[in-house]
Amino acid sequence: MAGSPSRDNAAHSARAPWLTLKTREMLEAWLFVSPTFIGFLIFFLGPLVAIFYYSTTEWNLLSQQATFVGLRNFENALLENPDFWHVVRNSVIFALGLVPLNMALALSLALALSRPFFGVVFFRTVFFAPVVTSAIAWAIVWKFMLQGQGGAVNQMLAWIGIDGPNWLREPNWAMAAVIVTRVIKMVGLNMILYIAALQSIPRDYEEAATLEGASRWQVFRMITWPLLAPTTLVIMVLTTIGSFKVFDHIYQMTGGGPENGTLVLAFYIYQQGFKFFNVGYAAALALIMFAIVMVLTLAQVMLRRRDME
């Protein structure tokens, strides 16, 4: 008669009594994560490993023949092909234009829309809706609106006496146009992140600072902005990565033109891999892009850490 009845029942009900409880729990845990884990292996880790291999080959997709060339593709990109540095320059300009504009606009909108007022949900929805809109549809609509003749933007400018340029056909304006339209599309996401962060800052801080004589600007500069720093870092890293990865927007709006003026890295990789079928070279470019994004991200994180200290 050793042991309580309930314990006996538990022992009998175990389906695999030869396994220890810890092993059974471990197996259950693996069972639950396996769908995601298998997907990760097949669709993420597999291609990631493969791309390292492809980057060391000269492989024309049509010939189905891959020749090992070592680091030749990297040499070609970094030292020989002038297109590469032109494309990197375009990507950097795109990021430098998009990231500050996006973040400043997102923060301004969040500050305006973080407190409840009549219609706040409507405005939040309006600014967030483009984020969930199809990128291609968004780009097509803007392409029409930015047409030189008959485009909605130029028509509106004409009302106030401004003769608008052919936005997407003039090298000086095309980059600005794709940056601004991309910002309008994606700013809602960062706005929501900033709203969540603002709402998590206790109201007491602002009230205490106000009682101590701080103006609204001082409250923002000395209390709110420093407390938003972790969110700002996340937003800056994600937006920078996103700006280097931009593809669909460029593909639909300018196709990299005019005169390669908006040819950015991700679109260049696509062109090399799937238009000119230089898969090995495209793989090397993708790894270089990965390295650039990694360095930028680490730099941002380290800067933030230095600020914290």
Partner: protein, 341 residues
């Protein structure tokens, strides 16, 4: 002279009136405590005085000046928040000096005043720490220090001890009392804890549903409550209120006013007695031994439960029949409206 004068103060949030006409006269250097149950408007009243909420009606004077339209930062008040509201990204030193910095006080003067306040509150070793590195009691002291540095005319405390454990609460209570003695500044303190109110206050303001129920010294409120609400709110354990409908003397020698319909007896003014002398008889339902005293829950023959504090002697068994004797000089009579008679 920093008197605080409230004349017919009202506050509405939309259609709901939270403060319904409060008149109050707070003398210079006085320690006034607002008490009342949750939702009675005590914190709102404090926020109206601070300027963090706009006054819907009435007049607020601080230091003889009408301040209804004066911004919070120019009212000469400092507030200690329930959450302490210490800025998490600033050190203790910077937290304490924040108000001086935004008011453009020179750095040397700022350092001197922060050091003085830190010395007063024994915060010197903590000046370079961040709030997350402090205990609850230390945070509380920093919050008080931040208030002191600004050298305000009036201190406002919004339930400052409610986040502390019982032992620390008692300790901090004594520190606040000592601080008041040292600074002699007008202090207004909000709490729902009537022990805090009794121990700290020169004057207690009991609030109920946005109105002042009674104002007085702790002893006034304890000995002469004007309503059943105050009688039951002040004092722990709370006063027993028994109906007088059955007639008959509640205690030998006590004279019962004609309009009285109920009588209040504090648990400490009841004792176990001989059956022949008393009309209060019942059975002990529970005896709670607290060390210093035993709190008896006695179910009277009429059905009400009556609390009795027994100071000495063995407590009766649960279920034992007991007779209770009330101190005839300590009875409180109330009329149909709950007013003392």
């Amino acid at each position: 002279m920093t008197k605080v004068l409230l004349k017919g103060i009202r506050k509405k949030f939309g259609a709901v009136e939270i403060i319904r006409g409060v008149d109050l006269d707070i003398e210079d250097g006085e320690f006034v405590v607002f008490v009342g149950p949750s939702g009675c408007g005590k914190s709102t009243l404090l926020r109206l005085i601070s300027g963090l909420e706009h006054i819907s009606g009435g007049e607020l004077h601080i230091g003889g000046q009408l301040v209804n339209e004066v911004p919070a930062s120019r009212r000469g008040v400092a507030m200690v928040f329930q959450s302490y509201a210490l800025y998490p990204h600033l050190t203790v030193r910077d937290n304490m000096g924040f108000g001086l910095k935004v008011r453009k006080v020179p750095a040397s003067e700022r350092a001197r005043r922060v050091s003085e306040a830190a010395a007063t509150l024994k915060l010197e070793p903590l000046l370079d720490r961040f709030p997350r590195q402090l205990s609850g009691g230390q945070r509380q002291r920093v919050a008080i220090g931040r208030a002191i540095v600004g050298n305000p005319d009036v201190f406002l405390f919004d339930e400052p001890l409610s986040n502390l454990d019982a032992e620390l609460r008692v300790h901090m209570r004594s520190e606040i009392a000592a601080l008041h003695q040292r600074l002699s500044t007008t202090m207004i303190y909000v709490t729902h804890d009537q022990i805090e109110a009794m121990t700290l206050a020169d004057k207690i303001v009991v609030l109920r549903d946005g109105r002042v129920e009674q104002v007085g010294t702790p002893r006034d409120l304890y000995d002469s409550p004007r309503t059943i609400f105050v009688a039951q709110f002040i004092g722990s354990p709370k006063m027993n209120i028994l109906p007088l409908a059955d007639g008959g003397p509640i205690a030998p020698g006590a004279s019962v006013p004609a309009t009285a319909i109920s009588v209040g007896i504090r648990p400490e003014h009841l004792s176990l007695g001989k059956s022949s002398n008393s009309t209060l008889r019942g059975k002990v339902r529970l005896a709670e031994y607290t060390g210093a005293v035993t709190l008896l829950h006695v179910e009277l023959d009429g059905g009400q439960t009556c609390l009795v504090i027994q100071n000495q002697g063995p407590a009766p068994e649960t279920g034992a029949e007991v007779s209770l004797q009330a101190d005839p000089g300590r009875l409180h009579f109330f009329d149909r409206e709950g007013q003392a008679v």
